[in-house]
């Protein structure tokens, strides 16, 4: 059943036009395919993370339910979906008016360029469409074999730890692993040769050294118990491991199909990870380009007011959250402006003459080149860390808020730059998820699992945490412990399969 169709006719001409502008500005993108579909289809695609085929699971149904209602009640409408693949697929809503389509196309070229060039995406699988479909087939087969309920319940458990990822694994490709193993074996060889390269020394020297070594070992007769010996059945296998799914695949008592499913879900989670790490930049970049392309090239004279209306809707600020589109595009523009005028570096920063600083303009014209560079190497954290300025926060009217227990509500806390920056970076740290790592896989020498929450100042939601521990228990099949700090106290929570207790 074809629910989407590739664009043709006037829309195709429009794509050619927009693509021409994208080329003109130097965007570097994967081949772009636009398809149109009705709102029901775009809701389906959005519920499935943009992919036409996923594994069967009720959560897609839940998201679909929510999206359909949102559309029906006119609360929300999805203009477009774009996915990180090569060729890059994007879906347009067929009822969009002409200007919407223009804007969306320009926006999509921005995303496409970002997917292709941002380094955090460099190892994502661009054939993910096939991978997702294959994963779906696999899981369907497991469902046929082991029963839909059983498999779906297992997937529920795994999705519970889907956000416990290690960002560093984004660069852990096969080549990297291989080259590291080579280095390791090299190092081992060196160690067996007392730390020297085998080939660099003369035969005479080597034979001399080996002779000495033999003498030495002849002297030591008594074999000692190694210093760190413990009687635990296994060594602590994975202390510090943040990739909990991989840890479970390697160490939990799983059946083959279970391990396979975790593998599939882990692959998908890592595929989506860069998008979660670059939300502000990605949306900012795409918005920068739809705005630039439309205002400078693509808009007809009768379309400006409508464009301003739509654009303003997208950029709307909220008191409860920062709008990634707004902050992203403005920060991109701010960087462009600063590098165009030369407002960076030692000289500018140390300038104390306010008037001079206010009118600083070196006419460098480096802005465009700079933001292209920024989109290549940054993620949201480094982006804000490096380019957020007090003036910018002021202009964007950003503030921090916190819960006031006395009035039982959220209240504006500070407009202080350092506070804002700290709060923003904390929120983005570890893509917004708590940092959880394996502390001990043989806790109490009883094969219990001890996880540690690396506390960054914010407590866990304990209701969710306990439910997650129950799911972890189902996978690990031995008691699960969580070390965290709760209400300023160091605690270890324990779930032994039946009930919860607090150890310390």
């Amino acid at each position: 059943m074809l629910r989407t169709k590739v664009i043709s006719g006037k829309l195709l001409e429009l794509q050619k036009e927009i693509q021409g502008y994208a080329d003109e500005y130097g965007l570097d993108y994967f081949p772009q395919v636009f398809e149109v579909c009705d709102y029901d289809t775009i809701n389906i695609l959005a519920a499935q993370g943009g992919f036409p085929i996923r594994y069967p699971h009720w959560k897609f149904g839940m998201d679909y339910d929510q999206l359909s209602k949102g559309y029906r009640f006119g609360i929300q409408k999805i203009y477009e979906m774009v996915i990180n693949t090569d060729p890059c697929y994007a879906y347009l809503l067929e009822v969009n008016n002409w200007l919407d389509q223009k804007l969306v196309m320009a926006h999509v070229y921005g995303h496409n360029d970002f997917f292709k060039n941002n380094m955090w995406f460099s190892n994502t699988n661009r054939k993910m469409m096939d991978v997702m479909a294959n994963n779906g087939t696999k899981m369907r087969r497991y469902m046929e074999k082991y029963g839909q309920d059983r498999v779906e319940i297992f997937i529920d458990k795994v999705l519970s730890i889907e956000n416990l990822l290690d960002v560093n694994h984004l660069f852990e490709t096969n080549e990297v692993i291989q080259s590291r193993q080579q280095k390791d074996s090299q190092a081992k060889k060196e160690a067996s040769n007392d730390g020297y390269y085998v080939d660099d020394r003369s035969k005479a020297l080597k034979s001399f050294m080996n002779a000495q070594k033999r003498e030495k070992s002849a002297d030591e007769v008594v074999s000692e118990v190694p210093e760190n010996f413990t009687f635990s059945a296994e060594e602590n296998m994975a202390k510090g491991e943040k990739d909990i799914m991989r840890f479970l695949i390697e160490h939990a008592p799983l059946e083959e199909w279970e391990a396979d499913i975790i593998g599939c879900l882990r692959e998908e989670a890592y595929y989506f990870l860069p998008q979660r790490m670059t939300k502000i930049m990605n949306e900012g970049w795409a918005s920068y380009w739809h705005s630039t392309i439309l205002t400078q090239r693509a808009l007809g004279p009768n379309e400006f007011i409508d464009f301003a209306d739509i654009h303003a809707g997208v950029m709307q600020m909220s008191k409860e959250n920062i709008n990634p589109y707004k902050v992203g595009i403005e920060l991109m523009r701010d960087i462009e402006f600063r590098w165009n005028t030369g407002r960076f570096g030692k000289e500018y920063n140390e300038c104390t003459n306010m008037e001079e600083k206010e009118n600083w303009n070196k006419n460098l014209g480096l802005g465009r080149a700079k933001i292209f560079e920024v989109r290549k190497s940054h993620n949201d954290i480094t982006f804000l860390e490096e380019f957020l300025t007090p003036e910018f926060c002021n202009r964007m009217q950003i503030f921090t808020y916190k819960f006031n227990p006395r009035s039982n509500r959220m209240e504006i806390d500070k407009r202080d730059f350092d506070a804002i920056k700290t709060k923003l970076l904390t929120q983005l740290t570890n893509f917004g998820s708590p940092v959880i790592e394996v502390e001990d896989s043989n806790f109490k020498n009883r094969k219990e699992l001890l996880l540690r929450h690396v506390h960054g100042g914010v407590d866990l939601d304990m209701q969710f945490a306990t439910a997650t521990m129950q799911n972890l228990y189902a996978l690990w099949k031995r008691p699960v412990n969580l070390k965290t700090s709760y209400e300023d106290k160091e605690v270890i929570f324990n779930f032994d399969g039946k009930e919860f207790s607090q150890l310390t």
């Binding site: 149904g61 679909y64 600020m317 008191k319 808020y401 509500r409 709060k423 998820s433 969710f464």
Partner: protein, 371 residues
């Protein structure tokens, strides 16, 4: 064929229904949670169907926002709104509360399954049967417009395989006339029947807010069940102390009077309503009476009993009396009814409702007879 997500969707609906079923007791005892939406839909709040994850607690986290305002201004609402200690802002902050829509049938089915309620057999008088066609089955004859392609090809494939002419290397399936399958209609006979529920409640001083809340919750579920059983349903409300009057739903649950209690006044009005608007031969009639059991005098109780015997019982499906426990109520009326009709009577159903937790059992007592 439908998109696979429809199957995900129905799995989701199934889980939702399971959750409602599991937590039915909670939903019932906490009354207000299920919100009617229009006439035959309900919104059921569902806080935790989402997959649990390690995540930050909302309140200690706070956040960042954009916009105007001074330090100390609430993030939601206008600056200066709300005195400290009052504001409700911050509630539900960041939480993804799920609201699920269910229709009468779904919710009633859950109630029915949970309480093992028998379907009601409407009184067999003057029913109008209507038929509806639903295309749920498959036939071998029919118009081309109803041809079921998938089933047709399946049939063709079956035939070819059993004839041994199917070649997996060249999988051509060609249906012949004989293979054609058509969607066919199943005719369903539906009975047009209608019911009226007449709620009577004692609103004298001894019935407090809590007691009314119990009645409100109980009536919600009773209505739900009866709605699922009858095509048409009318609901009438009568409040009484020493005198009775008919009111709308809102007034019914809000009014609080002081003064004495003459239950007979309500029963008289109930009789009057039935006589004027509802021919007992065509309507299934359900009078429900809720009070804390106090009646002004033994004489009035006698009058009540004779009203029941002479008119209400012969003309209604059953008479239900729910006694809500209150600090002031004596519970005498329950005893009087129980003495006369016994607690196992099919015509007069008695139920004591101690507190909110007892609502579900009370509903079962009322509706468990299938009348």
């Amino acid at each position: 064929m439908d998109h696979p997500i429809k199957r995900d969707h129905s799995r989701f609906r199934k889980i939702v229904k399971g959750k409602v079923r599991d937590n039915l007791r909670k939903y019932v005892s906490q009354g207000q949670q299920i919100i009617p939406k229009g006439t035959d839909k309900f919104t059921v709040p569902m806080p935790s169907i989402d997959i649990p994850r390690f995540k930050f607690g909302d309140k200690s986290e706070g956040g960042t926002g954009q916009g105007e305002g001074q330090e100390g201004d609430p993030v939601k609402g206008k600056p200066g709104d709300g005195e400290p200690g009052e504001g409700e802002a911050g509630e539900g902050e960041g939480s993804k509360e799920l609201e699920v829509e269910m229709d009468v049938e779904e919710l009633a089915k859950i109630l029915g399954d949970e309480l093992e309620l028998p379907n009601i057999e409407p009184k067999g008088k003057s029913q109008i049967a209507s038929t509806t066609d639903k295309y749920t089955s498959i036939g071998t004859v029919g118009p081309d417009s109803l041809r079921h392609l998938k089933r047709t090809y399946k049939q063709a494939l079956k035939r070819q395989m059993s004839m041994g002419v199917y070649d997996p290397m060249n999988p051509k399936v060609v249906p012949i006339r004989h293979d054609y399958r058509y969607r066919a209609a199943n005719t369903k006979v539906e009975m047009e029947n209608s019911a009226v529920v007449i709620y009577m409640m004692d609103v004298s001083g001894s019935m407090g807010e809590e007691q009314k809340e119990i009645v409100r919750t109980e009536s919600f579920w009773i209505n739900l069940w009866l709605k699922s059983q009858y095509k048409e349903i009318d609901i009438r409300y009568i409040i009484h102390d020493a005198t009775a009057k008919e009111v709308d739903e809102d007034t019914f649950f809000r009014t609080r009077e002081s003064g004495g209690t003459l239950i007979s006044s309500a029963l008289k009005l109930c009789k009057h309503i039935i006589e004027t608007d509802y021919d007992p031969n065509e309507w299934n009639i359900y009078p429900f009476h809720f009070s804390d059991g106090d009646n002004w005098s033994a004489d009035d109780t006698k009058l009540c009993l004779s009203l029941l015997d002479d008119y209400l019982l012969p003309n209604s499906n059953m008479f239900c009396y729910g006694q809500v426990e209150s600090r002031y109520g004596s519970g005498q009326f329950y005893k009087d009814l129980a003495n006369k009709y016994g607690t196992e009577s099919d015509d007069v159903i008695l139920s004591k409702i101690k507190n909110k937790e007892a609502i579900l059992d009370s509903i079962k007592e009322f509706l468990g007879k299938g009348k």
